[in-house]
């Protein structure tokens, strides 16, 4: 197919390996951020960013229509999760009531 001709041959294997390593690094880093900063939102945002990197790298290696549909679905899922994160950051949880009242 047309979409596979850019990163062809031996480069494709390298890109695939790099994408897998970056996905693993993203998961480890997200866990590390969650543990160190105690902020699930920051960890999830970093994980989504690195998974986007992986998706971009793999987009050049797509072989079939199924691959394309999966890539499009992943972009959509990432957007939905990102939208959820953005909504939560724009609408912070209400402050606890003042105990003196």
């Amino acid at each position: 197919m047309v979409g596979t001709e850019g990163v062809a041959g031996p480069l494709a294997g390298l890109v695939d390996a790099a994408a897998s390593l970056l996905a693993l690094a993203g998961v480890l880093l997200a866990v590390a951020i969650w543990v160190s900063a105690r902020d699930l939102r920051a960890a999830l945002a970093v994980l989504l960013d690195l998974l986007l990197v992986v998706g971009l790298l793999r987009l050049g290696l797509l072989r079939t229509w199924t691959d394309l549909l999966v890539a499009a679905a992943l972009v959509a899922v990432r957007r939905v999760v990102w939208f959820g994160l953005a909504q939560r950051s724009h609408h912070p949880a209400p402050a606890a009531p003042d105990p003196r009242r």
């Binding site: 850019g6 690094a25 920051a42 971009l56 790298l57 987009l59 953005a86």
Partner: protein
Amino acid sequence: MESPGEPAIEVWLEQVVTWLVAVVEAAGVLVIIVGALIALTLFVLALPKRDPVAFVPIRLTLGRFLALGLEFQLASDVLRTAVGPSLAGLAQLAAVAAIRTALNFFLAREIRDEQQLLEELGREMPTLPKVGWWGGGH
């Protein structure tokens, strides 16, 4: 090899475009991988700060590298259309280009939002050079 009935110039042009597509696509991949490695290093260096906001400028930097890489990949998609692929190939190319364009659009919006957040917080951008011809908010 030159196929019978196909002019030599067309065969030559197809080979040149195929090479150009490979070079431009590889440049895009290189930009994305370099950006990811720089961001990973900066993320690890920011870990001891234990500050969630410290990761935002790094994500902005990564976003700029991704946007530049996407521009290269979109350029290679456009180049591919020059060699007259089959209808099925063209449809798949259009799908890939649509996904990349959508990603580019959303990435630009995310970068703008994150930049606004940083401005509200009065934080500085990291000292890495800005990449991407559109400059991410100029």
